[in-house]
């Protein structure tokens, strides 16, 4: 039994809290390491790890953010599991680490009591072979059913490019675990459904139209890109692959990764780069929220809202193109800052765009909030009770709609957020309407943030001198993505490469909670409830497919310059 959030932590300084934690877990800890200024790692025995994590989660505003497994056999002949807990009011991340010998990978499961651990434990079981005692879900999470039980692809002795085609011969179909136990009809919502842009399977057990139970199977697109990066790509190559994790919030991934490495290398990036990152992150938030608003309207049968929203979204993507040269996947970030500056003449254009978009968005906002049918369809639908929201460790608008006042921009300030004035919208109803209102309000805040950041854009360099990144060090990078906290755990290796990179996108924290939101509601509500967490499966599954197509055409430098000029002329620059 975990007593979530029973101990007050708000108002307590970081050092004081660390002292309290030291007292709480004294006797259980074997070692304490201060990895970065706000990432502290405690090493504990594996039979104590669950108790320690539960103890820490008793503090207010804490979340189990990531459980990062690692194959450390080449360093110390063990596997490790690091339970990373966020302390939101102290700008602190605490890692509880345990080492597990390869011949006995048993660890006590936490998933029954802390639902945030559910997917993490299953993933670590699939990829490293950990055995979580008491984990009540025997199904694979990320690997396909046909994958052999004793092969774990994230172990370091498993080649990243090993073909899996041979194993497909013994194809095993997905077996739902509840179908025989429930007296209800089955409605398959996905993997391919009209409202799912990405494949996910929700097995809805229904009586009439009412959903009585739910099963999930996803990760159809899981490719394990972290494995591709580990030991192969250099620190400054990874931001580009990180940005390609998601077609909507890719910049947040690149930013979170860079911040993790910058924290390890104690790199203070230039102020101008901080502001440029802030501007781009907020552009991405507006773009993502407008995309979501459009989809939500479409799901409710309100295509006029969908079209208006996406029309404004086109303008924000145009603004991104003006500032970076790309509508999406800006390719701006490097460890130590950004690659491209924002030029003066484009700043003026950006202000014009923002004024115009704000007026257009105000019109859309008024249209949506004055529509009674939208309110009727979303109020008291898909409620996620506060205690469950805490247990699942939900983040972003889903958490803020449940009354949890957490936002990485305020709680763990990064980029230029500390210097900017903005509000964090919070609602307490925890239904689809509250999640919608949080996003609708956030768009206005993002307009404000961009305007402030562009207005105060400091002069100076945009890229810091990056010295040597210390090997065998670790850090956490975090960004408030449009869907919530995006965390990248990085452990450095030799030769300017990462030894371990773990991406935990916000949807990875939010999607498991959809099960709780669906039960008791109707088939008609299922699409909008699922959509209300703004699921991004590309992020969740860290999917990236690089299709190298040789079309036999090579552009010369002059041709590329001419093409760029053509685009600039089209955009009136």
């Amino acid at each position: 039994m975990v007593n979530f959030w029973v101990r007050r932590s708000e108002g307590i300084e970081r050092e004081e809290l660390l002292r309290l934690i030291d007292q709480d877990i004294a006797g259980l800890v074997k070692e304490k390491r201060v990895a970065t200024k706000n990432f502290v790692v405690y090493v504990v025995d594996r039979d104590k790890v669950v108790d320690v994590v539960k103890k820490l989660l008793e503090y207010e505003y804490t979340r189990l953010s990531v459980i990062a497994g690692n194959d450390e056999r080449f360093f110390r002949r063990d596997f490790s599991l690091t339970y990373i807990i966020a302390f939101d009011k102290q700008d602190l991340y605490i890692g509880i680490r345990t080492y597990v010998p390869p011949h006995d990978l048993k660890v006590k499961s936490l998933a029954k009591e802390v639902r945030a651990a559910w997917w993490h434990e299953r993933e670590n079981r699939d990829l490293y072979g950990f055995e979580f005692e008491g984990l009540d879900d025997p199904r694979k999470l990320v690997l396909p059913e046909y994958w052999p039980e004793n092969v774990h692809p994230w172990r370091k002795d498993y080649p990243y490019n090993k073909p899996v085609a041979d194993w497909r011969e013994g194809q095993v179909d997905y077996k739902p675990i509840k179908e025989d136990k429930i007296d209800a009809d089955v409605v398959a919502f996905g993997p391919y459904h009209l409202v799912n842009d990405e494949p996910i399977h929700w097995r809805l057990y229904v009586k009439g139209e009412v959903i009585v139970d739910v099963e999930h199977r996803g990760f159809h697109n899981w490719r394990g890109i972290e494995k591709i990066a580990e030991g192969r790509l250099t620190y400054n190559q990874i931001p580009f692959i990180a940005e390609r994790i998601c077609g909507i919030c890719g910049y947040t991934h690149a930013c979170a990764y860079c911040q993790a490495v910058e924290s390890i290398g104690r790199i203070d990036i230039p102020d101008r780069a901080k502001y440029i990152r802030t501007v781009m992150l907020e552009i991405e938030r507006i773009e993502s929220h407008l995309l979501w608003i459009g989809i939500a309207c479409h799901i409710l049968g309100f295509d006029t809202g969908f079209m208006h929203s996406w029309k404004i979204r086109e303008h924000i993507m145009h603004l991104a193109e003006v500032l970076t040269g790309n509508r999406k996947t800006y390719g701006m970030n490097l460890v130590g800052g950004v690659r491209r500056d924002i030029l003066g003449d484009r700043l003026r254009k950006a202000f014009d765009y923002l004024r115009f978009m704000r007026a257009e968005y105000r019109e859309l906002y008024n249209m949506l909030i004055s529509n009674t049918i939208i309110a009727k369809r979303t109020r008291d639908v898909g409620i996620l009770p506060r205690d469950k929201a805490i247990s699942y460790g939900v983040v972003g608008p889903v958490a803020r709609a449940a009354g949890l006042r957490i936002d990485v921009r305020k709680d763990h300030p990064y980029a230029a957020y500390k210097e900017l004035d903005f509000r964090v919208p919070v609602y307490s109803e925890s239904d689809v309407l509250a999640r919608t209102l949080v996003r609708l309000d956030e768009v206005f805040e993002s307009f404000d943030i961009i305007e402030q950041a562009l207005d105060r854009l400091p002069r100076g360099p945009i890229l810091a001198d990056v010295g040597e990144i210390p090997p065998n060090s670790e850090g956490v990078g975090y960004v408030e993505a449009p869907r919530g906290e995006d965390v990248h755990y990085v452990r450095t290796g030799l030769y300017n490469k990462v030894q371990r990179w773990r991406v935990r996108a916000p949807s990875y924290a939010n999607v498991p909670s959809v099960k709780e939101m669906l039960i008791g509601y109707r088939i008609a509500d299922a699409p909008i409830i699922y959509a209300s967490v703004d699921p991004c499966l590309a992020c969740t599954e860290r999917c990236i497919v690089v299709k190298a197509v040789d079309n036999g055409r090579t552009y010369s430098w002059n041709q590329l310059v001419e093409l760029s000029r053509k685009i600039s002329r089209r955009m009136g620059l």
């Binding site: 409202v195 139209e209 079209m307 529509n371 009727k376 369809r377 088939i523 509500d525």
Partner: protein, 319 residues
């Protein structure tokens, strides 16, 4: 054997009604798309796009998930019944089959279309198809009270239920300048909008929820027939409203001043023009509304039933 002139005229007009229904229904859908597109600030497709869609679907051949003869036969039956419904619209001075059918027969024909669609939907082994069919049945049963009150209102007001009789009896101006007549008109438009399955009442087919419901597993020609039938049903209901509300005062205004030969043609043109206008208006309403959820419908319909009931009471009182 000499065929009486009246029968020839009836056959001729009925044929004209059927051809009009078949052709104008996809055309009106084209208007619907363009109106919605303009409200959504986009260009939208050509007005003829629905014809192109139907042609493309027909070329694909008959595709259905089941080889059950009822499942395959229903699109043909529904299509035939929909053509029949379009021939029952009582345009003044154009007496066709509508002379021999009453409002109740029309309601039953419409219900038969719904029943056949639902029956096929329930026989198809697909939960979305089944859910859509059950939704359709729930809507029809919830809407019965409204329909019954509207028909009672019609019969009280006009002392007849013969379709052509209804249209012609309204040609007297004294009849439509009363509160009960205005309420009757409102009831009829609501009936046409809801029964026609316009958003927010397109719940049985709700694409994003049940992916087309009973129509989900039809493809190619069979889907084209169901789709076309749905358009004809929408058109017929709007047409019925036009003939019983807008047409009488307009036709009565010009019929006495024109030669009798010209009146049917003008009546037909007036009818087409107003049908397009009304269809466009319905499209605009549709574009501005999201979809209701199925459980919100019975309560909403119960509340709406007060409208024809008020009209009925006022009609009884002679207002």
């Amino acid at each position: 054997m000499v065929i009486p002139m009246q029968i020839l005229t009836t056959i001729g007009y009925t044929f004209a009604y059927a051809v009009t229904g078949l052709l104008i229904a996809p055309l009106l859908d084209g208007f619907r798309r363009v109106v919605k597109a303009r409200i959504q600030r986009r260009l939208g497709p050509s007005i003829l796009q629905t014809f192109y869609d139907i042609r493309k679907l027909i070329k694909l051949g008959a595709l259905a998930v089941s080889d059950n003869s009822l499942v395959i036969g229903v699109p043909y039956m529904v299509f035939s019944l929909s053509i029949l419904v379009t021939t029952l619209i009582p345009i003044p001075y154009l007496p066709g089959l509508n002379q021999y059918f009453g409002a109740i027969s029309l309601v039953y024909t419409l219900m038969l279309i719904t029943a056949l669609t639902c029956l096929a939907g329930l026989m198809i082994p697909n939960p979305y198809s089944n859910a859509g069919s059950i939704r359709e049945l729930l809507i029809v049963s919830s809407f019965e009270l409204f329909t019954a009150f509207t028909i009672a209102e019609l019969s009280t007001k006009l002392r007849t239920l013969n379709l052509y009789g209804l249209a012609t009896s309204l040609l007297s101006p004294v009849r439509y300048l009363k509160p009960s007549t205005i309420i009757l008109a409102i009831s009829l438009y609501l009936l046409a909008y809801i029964e026609g399955g316009w958003t927010p009442f397109d719940i049985p087919e709700a694409e994003t929820e049940v992916m087309g419901g009973p129509l989900l597993e039809y493809g190619g020609k069979l889907y084209a027939l169901m789709y076309w039938s749905n358009l004809m049903k929408k058109y017929a209901l709007v047409g019925l409203c036009i003939t019983l509300t807008i047409m009488p005062p307009i036709v009565s205004a010009y019929s006495s001043r024109l030669p009798l030969v010209a009146v049917p043609a003008l009546s037909y043109v007036t009818y087409i023009v107003f049908t397009i206008i009304m269809f466009s208006l319905f499209s605009a309403i549709e574009a501005l509304n999201p979809r209701y959820r199925i459980d919100q419908i019975p309560r909403a319909f119960l509340a709406l039933s007060v409208i024809p009931l008020t009209g009925l009471v006022l009609g009884w009182c002679g207002w």
